[in-house]
Amino acid sequence: MSDGQQYLITLTKMRSGHSGVVAEIQGGFGLIARLNSLGIMPGKRITKVSSMMGQGPVTIEVDRVQVAIGFGMANRIMVKLDQVS
């Protein structure tokens, strides 16, 4: 197994404070377009800031901007982690 696959994880499972690179958005055209316009697209470096309890929104930082993403959407964003958690 290659390293890349090993650290691939959904945004919801990622730990707060960790960084990584967006690998894939598993969604339709609409979702991808909306996320893209907020700077979230494959190849982008992101840092997870927090996630709210009870399947609340996930907040990440991308291009020095905080973006809050609903749990379901965040679940469709795959991230390649920098570090093993």
């Binding site: 909306r34 800031v49 927090s50 020095r64 905080q66 809050a68 993403i69 379901g72």
Partner: protein, 569 residues
């Protein structure tokens, strides 16, 4: 007349640029979606007059939201576009810029928030960006007015370089290429404001910050309002205005129809400003001495909250909870606006994505969120009976808000879309913006409320004279008395509540209600029909059918809650 459209992503400062260009004041806040409708103004360009349109923020010309669809329709040939770009988020802003260029529209780019790039260690080569895009690029700081003159001078120079349409991926690739050539970002450590930003959306610290902010806001609102009433307005009315009223009362002969309309019921050489119900007594005292202080303090605090950039973070914090009410966290922003006035609140529900969410949010606001005018009267009248009664009123409305939300969530077909918002950076609120916005809102209150309040007082006096009220009261007596435990005359107040809630609650004052009756009446008044202004906006925004549904829910909920309170208390 030529058309200039201000187009750009949400929260980049289009409305600030608009105000600078046209002198038309608009509401400016630090969160995406402040502007929900199209504001027009006129700019003098040498001899020529140009119409400028402030377009709500959009991310893309691929229509993914209602705002984007409408914006798309406006971007027809013949318009010039000022593409307002947030200089600190150049990369994501350029997507819309490229799309605009591909449409062949003449464009000027305003590189706004230019001052922030310096603080954030972002270096942008403006000359190179100009060359790569092929259109004028002007750095601006709209808040201070820097660069606006140059922007105006460049409007006639707007060009449309020939660019063939690209696919989405090609566009992002082109942007990556441009960014690598024009932008350089220094690495730097988080500032304390940024650390506070992070803490605001973390579960534990976020809740602590959220509760502190709301409690503090509430305390400041009360502190300012009560001091204004106690030390400024009450002394003015009782010391300076009362003699004038009494003098006029004597001139008008002490009684009679005209006397009662103008001065109201004055007995024993004293003016009871709350109960007399004349134009120059209650007609001025209620709006200026009871309501205005709360309007001033509420909008000052709301303005500060809006301009710091905290509200979207409150939305994140509240998201899970708000989903239980059938809407997502962003609905908290219209709800908070509703605590000031329900009219802009219903308009602000446009920031929600679906019709279903808008219906739920608007219905909840018009039923369970009391406006500042009504709240001021609740504090003024119910508060006299003891703080615990005010708490019961608020507690009841909160419970209704939650229960009704849960019911609507299950009763209205569809699902709640998920939250997806860009969070503005924290800013120390620019005092000029805060004060200007507060003044606009206070002026709006005065301009709309005073004529209606005075008109209502005339109408109330006339109807009293002709015995219309007695007829209504006798007719509805059984319901009002049996179900709600109120004297039958209280129904008049519910009817007047359709005009203005503050006057309506004021009408209860002379009835000599017990504390319990006052609580029931306040809650029913808050929940029953929204005032006519809200009614009209609701109708326009959501249509007859939804308005009708909402009204039925409203009447049922108000009577049920009032009945339950009557039994419980």
């Amino acid at each position: 007349m030529k058309n200039v459209l201000l187009v750009g992503n949400p929260n980049v400062g289009k409305s600030v640029v608009f105000s600078r260009l046209t002198g038309v004041r608009t509401t400016i806040s630090n969160y995406p979606g402040t502007t929900v409708s199209y504001t027009r103004g006129v700019l003098k360009l040498g001899e020529e007059k140009v119409e400028v349109v402030d377009v709500p923020g959009i991310y893309t010309l691929e229509p993914t939201s209602e705002a984007e669809e409408i914006a798309l329709k406006m971007l027809q040939s013949g318009v010039t576009v000022i593409n307002v770009v947030n200089a600190t988020h150049l990369e994501r802003s350029l997507y819309l810029t490229l799309q605009l260029l591909e449409r062949g529209l003449p464009i000027v780019v305003a590189l706004n928030m230019w001052d922030d790039t310096k603080h954030q260690g972002i270096h942008i080569d403006v000359e190179k960006l100009r060359a790569l895009l092929g259109v004028p690029v002007i750095p601006t700081v709209a808040l201070t007015g820097e660069g606006i003159k140059e922007l105006v001078q460049n409007i006639p120079k707007a060009t449309s370089p020939n660019i063939s349409p690209r696919s989405r991926d090609e566009r992002w690739a082109a942007i990556g290429d441009i960014i690598s050539q024009v932008q350089h970002v220094d690495h730097r450590h988080h500032t304390w404001l940024e650390r506070l930003q992070d803490a605001s959306v973390k579960p534990v610290t976020g809740v602590i910050i959220g509760i502190s902010v709301l409690v503090f806001a509430f305390l400041v609102i009360r502190l300012i309002a009560e001091n204004l009433i106690e030390h400024v307005l009450d002394p003015f009315f009782s010391g300076l205005w009362a003699p004038v009223v009494l003098r006029l009362s004597a001139i008008l002969g002490g009684s009679g129809f005209l006397h009662d309309i103008v001065v109201g019921k004055v007995a024993g050489g004293e003016v009871n400003f709350v109960e007399s119900f004349g134009l120059i007594s209650s007609g001025l005292y209620v709006p200026f001495a009871m309501v205005l202080p709360y309007i001033v303090s509420f909008y000052l605090v709301l303005g500060l909250l809006e301009d710091t950039g905290y509200l979207p973070r409150l939305a994140v914090l509240m998201d899970t909870f708000m989903h239980r009410l059938g809407v997502h966290g962003y609905a908290i922003i219209p709800t908070l606006l509703g605590l000031g006035c329900n009219v802009p609140a219903v308009l602000a529900t446009r920031i929600l994505e679906t019709k279903r969410e808008r219906f739920i949010a608007s219905t909840l606001i018009s039923i369970a969120v009391p406006c500042a005018a009504l709240q001021a009267m609740i504090f003024g009248l119910v508060g006299r009976q003891g703080a615990q009664y005010v708490i019961i009123v608020y507690g009841t409305l909160f419970v209704v808000w939650v229960f009704l939300g849960i019911i609507l969530k299950h009763a209205v077909k569809g699902f709640s879309p998920e939250l997806l918002i860009e969070m503005p950076p924290y800013r120390l609120p620019p005092w000029r913006v805060v004060l200007q916005k507060m003044w606009m809102r206070i002026y709006g209150f005065l301009a709309e409320a005073i004529p209606i309040i005075l008109g209502a007082i005339v109408v109330i006096n006339m109807l009293h004279l002709f015995g219309v009220f007695r007829a209504i009261a006798d007719f509805t007596g059984p319901v009002v008395n049996g179900l709600l435990g109120l004297p039958k005359e209280a129904v008049i107040s519910l009817v007047i509540g359709f005009l203005r809630k503050d006057v309506a609650l004021g009408m209860l004052a002379p009835l000599g209600l017990s504390a319990k009756q006052l609580v029931v009446a306040s809650v029913v008044l808050a929940m029953f029909f929204p005032c006519i202004a809200t009614f009209v906006v609701f109708l326009r925004e959501l249509g007859v059918r939804k308005m009708f549904m909402s009204t039925v829910i409203m009447i049922l909920a108000a009577l049920m809650t009032g009945g339950v309170l009557n039994v419980l208390l």
